[in-house]
């Protein structure tokens, strides 16, 4: 018996396929892009193929993330906050605080025994999100994945006072013209982003263990900056991108098992991989 979690984030789509022991059978990650309504079936097909599992044998599917309503074959939708909490707990049983920095938002979650108990999220703005780093990398002509290693070379981080992505961009140009080193500027940028997220997280009482996830957790410079700003140890999962999808798969299993224990059969969606249709021209 198999379970699936589909996490359609603003930037990346992630699918995790598991079995009854929460063992991961396959992981697929791909850019969400503008067509994410049509993408869910495609990533799911790839995940099934990679694991060699037929769709009919997937007992329960949970969709999460901003695109969670656009997964026609999902049996249940659960927010990414609860899914991250559950996914991270499966890796770090002592987790109390989780910070996820994704493409379009940053969220901080209080977790108790794998259950979400409280949360805060950033406001509707690129400041404090992965998009901020994308814009900055483009401004400096540096690959996003190189930001972390470069910033660790910094000996004196530049002072970047603006949280606003656009103003920070202007500030960088000003610093460059003053002759600041690129690595110092990136270190300054990481510090600006980390202080913004730390301020958000501190609205909740931060308790260890603290885990950082999301695409931004792949950036070693950001991990350091978060550690400096929160003044505590920060744990990072081996693949910080998939904790939401993993939590969704685990919650799928738990939902299914609980119903089975109660002698109930949960309704499921037809096991067909069709693209979601939202627009009238598609239904014609």
């Amino acid at each position: 018996m198999y379970f699936a979690g589909v996490d359609i984030g603003s930037t990346m789509t992630k699918v995790v396929l598991t079995d009854t022991t929460d063992r991961i059978l396959s992981v697929i990650k791909g850019p969400t892009g503008p067509e994410h309504r049509r993408l869910a079936n495609e990533v799911m097909r790839m995940a099934l193929e990679q694991a060699g599992v037929p769709l009919e044998e997937v007992a329960y599917i949970v969709a999460t993330g901003y695109g969670r309503l656009n997964v026609p074959f999902a049996d249940r939708q659960i927010t990414e906050l609860s899914c991250h909490a559950r996914g991270i707990y499966s890796l770090f049983p002592n987790i109390r605080t989780a910070i996820d920095i994704g493409g379009q938002d940053a969220k901080c979650m209080k977790v108790n025994n794998g259950k979400l108990v409280d949360f805060v999220m950033n406001d509707k703005c690129a400041a404090g999100t992965g998009r901020f780093l994308e814009v900055i990398a483009a401004t400096l002509g540096i690959k996003l994945e190189d930001l972390g290693a470069l910033s660790l070379k910094s000996t004196k981080k530049a002072s970047i006072s603006n949280f606003c992505t656009i103003f920070a961009q202007q500030e960088i140009v000003a610093r460059l013209s003053e002759g600041e080193k690129v690595e110092d500027i990136i270190a300054g940028i990481h510090d600006a982003l980390a202080s913004r997220v730390a301020a958000l997280a501190q609205r909740l009482k931060i308790e260890p263990d603290v885990v950082l996830t999301g695409g931004v957790a792949k950036n070693s410079g950001m991990i350091k900056a978060m550690r400096d700003n929160l003044d505590c140890e920060i744990l990072v999962p081996p693949d910080p991108l998939i904790t939401g999808a993993m939590g969704a798969a685990i919650l799928a299993k738990e939902t299914h098992m609980k119903a089975a224990a109660d002698g109930e059969t949960l309704p499921t969606k037809p096991r067909r991989l069709e693209k979601a249709t939202f627009f009238t021209e598609e239904t014609n």
Binding site: I78, T79, L116, D118, F119, M121, D123, K124
Partner: protein
Amino acid sequence: MPDKSTGLGRAQEIYLNRPQRAKELKAAGKKIIGYPCAYVPLEMLTALDLVPYRIYGSIKEPVTEADRALPTSFCPFIRSCLDGALKGKDDFVDGLVTAHSCDPQHRTAHVWESCVKYAYTHFIDMPGTVRADSLEYFKGQLGDFKKTLEAFTGKELSPDKLKAAVKSHNQQRALVRELYELTKPIPPLVSGTEILQVIKALMSLPVTEGNELLTQVISEVKSRQDGPAKKLARLLIWSSTSDDTDVMQVFESGANVVMDESCGGFRPFRAEVKLSDDPIDGLADYYLNEITCARTFRQATIGETRKDYAEDLQSRFGYFKGIVKDWKINGAILFLVRYCDPFAFEMPALKDYLERIGVPSTYVEYDYTIGALAPLRTRVEAFLETIS
């Protein structure tokens, strides 16, 4: 399409086309007076046979015109109200009455008066605290309001007329409270969305017509079989203003909203105007002391160097205790309009107070646009996941 033969259907119809009745009344010779805030004593308008018409913004209409007249980084609600006025949305309105309910309303009122020409405008200054001398000052303000109304209408605002109007508006308040009694059962007999439609309808009608509508709605709801289903939680919404059913439906997709403590909900109807010898005294007391908007600060003690935090909380939010118990509320959403300083300042203390009385809450900020609904949905659903 709304079924106009029922009270709820008629309320929905008016909600969808609020100016309709006001335009008919204007064609019949009545004067329509717009107001954007619950701090305008409607009784004084009703007593002179003027029709009060609440002006709202719209989360569906991007603010464009108002940006020429106002700074952009402040209250998106009042910016949207002025934007509608500049676009001629409520061009049937003869006059505009505003109050110093907050700084953005105060400053916008003066820009508004200079940008849009009305036959009558009046601005009511309001103290920010509930001290005794505040009340005296506010009575003077209502005296000034009376004078300009009398000059505009050419009629005398006699105590008898005003007392009669107070009775009609108190009856409306009692009827709205009776309607809210019907959200007490599990599941509630009426949804938050339906109540919002009814209340926005009331704010588009003369008081007597509103009372007739309410009477019909209450009688229907009491005997209905098709009320809302029981959901995961019974929510309290606390907000400055939340006036669109699309927003309410985000709350109600996973929960029953049984108490909407906002300007388009319970707040303007919670208490009654006391009938005093000089009816202005009762009105001043009600509008300054009884409307529980965060724009007025209600500290427990005045003039002492040391204040007790718990007493202050009780003084500012004590009325929630009964609401929580009577409506069996098990979660609260503190729903803030971005840049709304009075509510943002009040929020942490209210969150703390609710926690002390055992009600989990979350706060969500929105920018009074429809674009805020997707992030709002995630936050509301996640909150419901934490409490269920």
